[in-house]
Symmetry: C4
Subunit: 271 residues, 4 copies
């Protein structure tokens, strides 16, 4: 007996992994809808005051989706050219994690921490990128950020040391007040980050004149410091489009050589 067409490994692979064929595109659309629905279920289920019938309906829907995702995972595993490679790749692990949680719930009922496992399912939405020409843009973005990662790390270390010093200072100033929200240095550092990042919840606020003076200083500092990562990333973006030769050096004098130079600017050597 001949196996039906859609079980042919080659064709199945083309449906699941390709984005250029109509079938592959339709498969991706169905997958995205399924992921979105499962996320909505996740969000609605988190509400503690649901009526019983809705809880039941959502549970059934979730079961159906879990079966679907399981079938998809098995199908991917079945028709992958390199099964072991797929299973151990980033996407393969995400696919597995997206399927596992509901099964785990059988053994560990009520486990709240499974929520996070289920939210992993959403990471699969990144696959949608394949449908767009977005990939190049995304790569450029990451490249621009990657090129300035050192500068940003120094900046963050600076901000980190700053909020620890300012938080401690504020604790000293404000903790003497009765009913102060600056209970310990941890809370003060949390407040300093809230203020420096210009978020400003208002759950912890200074009440002494000196505390308000220091706050004002931190606010204006944060208002200005926000320019630094902006400057780093922007400069990086602009330089990404107009990039000098990396590590290009003159073979005679080892001076830096720029893209487009035909003679070394230090020793006159022809390049």
């Amino acid at each position: 007996m001949k196996r039906p067409d859609w079980l042919e490994k080659e064709q199945l692979r083309s449906v699941i992994f390709d984005v250029d064929t109509p079938a592959g595109r339709r498969f991706d659309v169905v997958l995205i809808i399924a992921i979105a629905v499962s996320l909505v279920i996740l969000f609605v289920e988190s509400n503690p005051s649901l009526p019983h019938w809705l809880k039941l309906t959502l549970g059934v829907l979730e079961g159906v989706l879990t079966v679907l995702f399981t079938v998809e995972y098995v199908a991917r595993l079945y028709c992958a050219e390199d099964r072991r490679g797929y299973a151990l790749s980033g996407w393969g692990i995400i696919d597995l994690l997206a399927v596992l949680p509901p099964y785990l719930t059988f053994f560990l009922p009520g486990a709240r921490y499974l929520l996070i496992l289920r939210s992993i399912r959403f990471i699969r939405i990144f696959r949608i990128f394949r449908l767009f020409s977005f990939l190049n843009e995304g790569e450029l973005l990451l490249k621009a950020i990657g090129r300035s990662i050192h500068k940003i790390a120094v900046y963050f270390l600076f901000v980190f040391v700053l909020v620890i010093c300012l938080g401690t200072l504020m604790f000293i100033i404000e903790s003497g007040q009765p009913d102060s929200a600056f209970r310990d240095i941890g809370a003060s550092i949390y407040w300093a980050i809230t203020t420096l990042s210009t978020v400003g919840y208002g759950d912890i606020t200074p009440s002494t004149p000196l505390g308000r003076l220091l706050s004002s200083f931190i606010m204006l500092l944060g208002y200005t410091l926000i320019a630094v990562p902006g400057g780093i990333v922007t400069a990086s973006f602009i330089n990404t489009t107009d990039e000098p030769v990396r590590n290009g050096r003159c073979p005679r004098c080892d001076a830096k050589v720029r893209k487009g130079d035909r003679y070394c600017s230090q020793c006159g050597e022809k390049l």
Copy 2:
């Protein structure tokens, strides 16, 4: 009997549609004032605790303005060169929407959703642009944003996935607290967006040390991520004003050649 001058189609058209003639400019000024007044009426009427006489006065004023806008709409329709084209164009539909709401109120009194229809009237204020030389600037703005729309879309998708993950994580951490404001994942995601965008209302705030630690991380992330659209738009702005051809060089003198150049700007070589 000869029709009065101002009813001549040609002249009426010049008054309504032109901005270069004194009459056209005066017409625009009157229109802008009428729109502004109708908006102020809209805002004042929204206050539920108005005295009765004020309500009445505003109602009468609104009626007068509605008649005015109706006359204007009919006049535009009457003297448009392509009536069907005007009626179905973006501005034509806005003009109609600006006139319809009060008439609809006769049939559907108390309909609160008409407020939004009335606010559409304000979109007409964009016509004022014709008076200024702003148009080129606005186009440049839109062009710069349009050129980076792909990058911004990727960025938003990234932020979207991020706040969903962080919101879910925060729900897991904070929802165990008594009287927690993190009631469901929806509220948690709302909180994550509030925090990441550095708005920080303070209606939902973390109370556990772990929640505050994660908050601090999100704040600093948001404080830095804000640099990315800035970098994208700025790079786009700079490139819009001064765009060189990538690696384009003169074959004779090797000087940089810009897009659209037909002769080398350094040696005069024909390209």
Copy 3:
């Protein structure tokens, strides 16, 4: 009888108006200190719960300073080369306004609005700029902002229309709630500005799921829109330092010509 040296008009003028002489610099320092002291007095006096003796002391100090500023104003008027010109110039009016308020208080005691007149005294601190080499930098700043004023105006008009539409929309969504802080459209627009600008006081916050969804959208919009003035100003700053010839055009074909070009890039004409 010979008048004392310091009353000589020439010398007095050099002391008051010059910043290059030691005497002129000393005069400026004394003036700055007097202005700062009078501001501190202003701030302390605003506190309603002051002890009586402090109120009295401050009143006396303020009187002394007022006499000093009056003497300075008269001296400036006396030794100015063009008295009428000085009296009607921006600085002359500020100097007069800085002197007048205490005298007006005699006639209009308790007039709260004099506070603002007194705060005008602070504008004089800008004179300190003359002491620094800051002037060029300040001019560059203003020049960069001035060059992009058209773009910023368009941006503001866009933000203005946006917050009116979003505020009205939010009023429709939220005003149905009991005890809603969205009392009228004015409050809703105030809230929309608070949110879009990422300030986020938290005195008005959405409580319905739909309201929170719209808020999230506004926050992310504001988070991104903040990039636009940044892009405008930054591009302007960069272009200020590396400015192409304005309106430089080829005499033969009228194409744009850049700084440093020796041949027209469109027709090959030698420039």
Copy 4:
């Protein structure tokens, strides 16, 4: 009797001051861990509601760390090439300050202000920079900020004058309300800074329509003004990485010549 190897001055110096040797790197790692542990102790101790046994444990741990830091300081002093120079250098003073506080506590028990002295210990974490290639990046950052310090100072002076004027204006508008949080001009200026910097705690908010109008204006101003330091720093960053000599050109081929070039990079001409 021969002194043990690790007491040899030369070797000890290499361990303490070098980062290239394995021993020196291990020493730095131990030092960083010790600093981090002492900071965690500092933060936990600040919590007023600690159980007695934990207070005791932390006290003992702190004592051990103090002994360690003392030994390290003495060792540094012992093996420094220029002892006096080290003791009076920035790092030397920080090292001393990091050791002194616990000893001072013996004489001044309960002195809360020692917290800040202890937090100085953290400044030593900056030494970690030696391990990374971060130094160049950090220098570039400081150089870029240093180059624009004049512009930023002018900007800050402008913001400073602005918040004083706006705070005073807001005090006049809002202070008449019963139970207003705008108690004095100091509080109003604090509010103006909170608003302009887009922090927006919400502990002080306007309640009058006029106050809200002025607030809206300040928010939009702050939302736009934030672009100015961004523009300054970004322009500075871009100019730091790629600084051409203004109008510097090769006398033979007229190609652009960069600062420090000794030969034209296009034709090899000696400059």
